[in-house]
């Protein structure tokens, strides 16, 4: 057992997998000599040397293309895209090439690779460094998408991602980097496609992701205290594959659903979850499905504005009460 930050968990996860498998290599901008702009990869160069840990030019298409080609030819590469907003400059490689190649070749080409990136807002970086792009990736067939909310999940889900034979988009939430928890020593390996009930409840199912999980938990406590309603909170953890079983099972018990999403409203992951529940658990539902999201705007830079844009505990509590309506 050691207390670890989410930030430190990233380096520990990469070390765990690079120690285990000599074909795991890691590239990105400022990741080697500098240890990463978020200091998530400090020490990796010293430990594994410049053949396995490499700095790249500011060439995201080349970075993502390189890991794709390397994965085709015997490596298990990991790429860092510094901020998830920059997926936009290499989206063709991610969405049109990596995601589609196994399918287009009818299984001839395997792409065991991971692209990790700092996702999400809350740190006043403005509209081009704060986006929640998990929905961009979820919408592309052929990508697995993982969004851990705790240091322990960072390690376990990252290990699962590296060991997975298919391409995984691994989105770390930059606002969670300083968060801490006690993490057991030794190897940690988790499973993709598994959600976790982080707070059991009876009256309402609340589905949240990444930085919205701690907020949903606070909101659930306040809901219990203020109106005596018991919310079950589920950390989705993995958008693709999606653990619909856990979500549906919960909604069948509570008869109500709310999602808490950091991304802007339209076509967020919660819309997909809502549409699944609205078909498959419709007759179990007692009230409207409520989505709490950032309004459909880019994230503003000023703290006063960013705090008003991203779902706050207050706003979540208020919206959850609408989900309790009869």
């Amino acid at each position: 057992m050691a207390e670890l930050t989410y930030r430190e968990a990233v380096a520990r996860a990469i070390v765990q997998e690079m120690e285990r498998d000599p074909t795991v290599v890691f590239i990105g901008e400022d990741v080697a000599a500098a240890g990463g702009v978020f200091k998530t990869t400090a020490g990796l160069l010293e430990r594994f040397g410049p053949d396995r840990v490499r700095d790249t030019p500011i060439s995201e298409q080349a970075i993502v293309g390189a890991v794709m080609g390397a994965a085709m030819n015997g490596l298990r590469p990991i790429a860092e895209i510094m901020f998830s907003d920059f997926f936009a400059v290499c989206w063709d490689l991610v969405a049109n090439q990596i995601a589609k190649t196994r399918y287009m070749t009818d299984g001839q080409v395997s792409l065991p690779l991971v692209i990790r990136s700092a996702n999400g807002g809350g740190v006043r970086f403005g509209a081009q460094h704060s986006q929640s792009v998990e929905g961009w990736a979820m919408a592309i067939p052929g990508l697995k998408v993982v969004c851990p909310s705790t240091p322990r999940d960072v390690i376990g889900l990252f290990a699962a991602a590296v060991r997975d034979p298919d391409p995984v988009i691994f989105l770390e939430h930059k606002a969670l980097y300083p968060t801490k928890e006690d993490v057991p020593d030794g190897e940690i390996v988790d499973a993709l496609g598994t959600a976790r009930v982080v707070r059991p409840g009876r009256d309402l199912t609340v589905v949240a992701l990444a930085a919205m999980v701690p907020k949903a938990l606070q909101a659930a406590d306040r809901l219990e205290a203020e109106v005596g309603a018991s919310a079950e909170v589920i950390d989705v953890r993995s958008l693709v594959p999606l653990d619909t079983r856990t979500i549906l099972e919960s909604v069948r018990r509570t008869s109500r659903l709310a999602t808490v999403e950091e991304s802007p409203r339209l076509c967020g992951w919660g819309a997909e979850v809502a549409s699944i529940v609205a078909e498959e658990a419709f007759f179990d539902l007692d009230g409207p499905i409520v989505r709490v999201t950032t309004p459909h705007v880019p994230l503003p830079a000023a703290d006063a504005l960013e705090d008003a844009a991203i779902p706050s505990v207050d706003r979540i509590v208020a919206r959850l009460q609408e989900a309790l309506k009869d």
């Binding site: 060439s59 293309g65 080609g69 015997g74 490596l75 399918y103 080409v109 034979p165 594959p241």
Partner: protein, 337 residues
């Protein structure tokens, strides 16, 4: 500064290699002619991009490559696919959308892939495969396999960002990759000259990456073979990447839909006169090869292609259930439990 390459026409080429080159070019030409008929018959759906006239680039390189070397090419990739040894029947079956196609019908003409023959894919988004090829070369370098990657693309691809990023990374990491621009003077319908800041879209960019600018006659298989030997050899010896601009011409339009009428008649005729196949045939005769031997090769190609067509036409269409297979390594496409 651009070096026009003349490797005194592959002095080191033995006759067997030359005959193999001729056979391969003839097979590709015959295959594409038949493929074209099959579109007109409506048997090939969608679109396709013939390489008629550009065979020497594919064959010259393939002849100089090691079996474990890797090829990355574009939607205009029939010539590279066959030159590397993919099954003709399976290639034709892919065009016809049959279950026995190289990609089970999922890829189609623009995405021919045959990993067993080092064909790592035909890419249909211009420029995308250059960084991917660099990545495959990086893995070869890292693993010390001695493989070299050959990456083929068109003149139009030299103006897209991925070209720039891939060339720079390949040089900085000294990767064993040879980038080959098949400059056929046109993009789809627009001349490359009309939209490019320099005369040689690839070779005039080489210095931006500290590379030598190499231009080669892409309609002369021996020249291509010689430049392939040189650049693949350098890459294998750890001397890093090369950028080769092969001047060539497509005899037909850009794609099945295109009659190619935007090209001046004189230009077309001048290039038809430099058709790489008759040219090579004459050279072989001049080198003392028997006319009969060449005719035999040509007839064998006809037979081989006809067999492939028959086999492909007889092949079953894919089972609709195949829509949901092979997205993931587990063979399926499930996104939920």
């Amino acid at each position: 500064m651009v070096t026009v390459f003349t490797g005194q026409a592959g002095a080191d080429l033995d006759q067997d290699t030359r005959l193999a080159i001729y056979r391969s070019m003839i097979e590709i030409r015959t295959f594409e002619r038949r493929a074209h008929d099959l579109f007109l018959e409506g048997l090939v759906k969608g679109t396709t991009h013939l390489a008629m006239g550009q065979e020497a680039v594919a064959v010259g390189f393939a002849a100089a490559m090691r079996p474990d070397d890797l090829t990355f090419c574009t939607y205009r990739g029939h010539h590279h696919t066959l030159a590397r040894g993919a099954s003709m029947a399976a290639t034709m079956a892919e065009l016809l959308g049959r279950a026995t196609g190289l990609c089970g019908g999922k890829g189609g003409s623009m995405h021919l892939t045959d990993v067993r023959h080092g064909l790592m894919g035909s890419y249909a988004i211009v420029g995308a495969h250059l960084p991917i090829a660099a990545g495959a070369a990086w893995a070869a370098q890292f693993r010390g396999t001695g493989q070299v990657v050959a990456c083929f693309f068109g003149d139009g691809a030299t103006n897209i960002g991925a070209f720039h990023e891939a060339l720079n990374l390949a040089v900085v990491w000294k990767l064993p990759v040879v980038f080959v621009c098949e400059n056929n003077l046109y993009m789809e319908y627009t001349p490359i000259q009309a939209v490019t800041a320099v005369e040689h879209p690839a070779a005039d960019r080489a210095s931006a990456y500290g590379l030598e600018g190499i231009v080669v006659d892409g309609n002369d298989a021996d020249e291509v073979y010689a430049v392939a030997r040189l650049t693949l050899g350098r890459a294998r010896a750890g001397q890093g990447p090369s950028l080769v601009e092969a001047k060539t011409y497509r005899h037909g339009g850009h794609s099945r839909a295109d009659p190619g009428t935007y090209r001046p008649q004189e230009e077309v005729e001048a290039w038809l006169a430099r058709d790489p196949i008759p040219r090579y045939r004459e050279r072989l005769l001049a080198l003392g090869v028997e006319e009969a031997q060449l005719r035999a090769i040509e007839e064998e190609a006809q037979v081989k292609v006809e067999r492939a067509v028959e086999e492909a036409r007889a092949a079953p269409f894919p089972d609709p259930g195949a829509v949901e297979t092979n997205l993931w390594a587990d063979g399926g496409s499930a996104w939920r439990n």
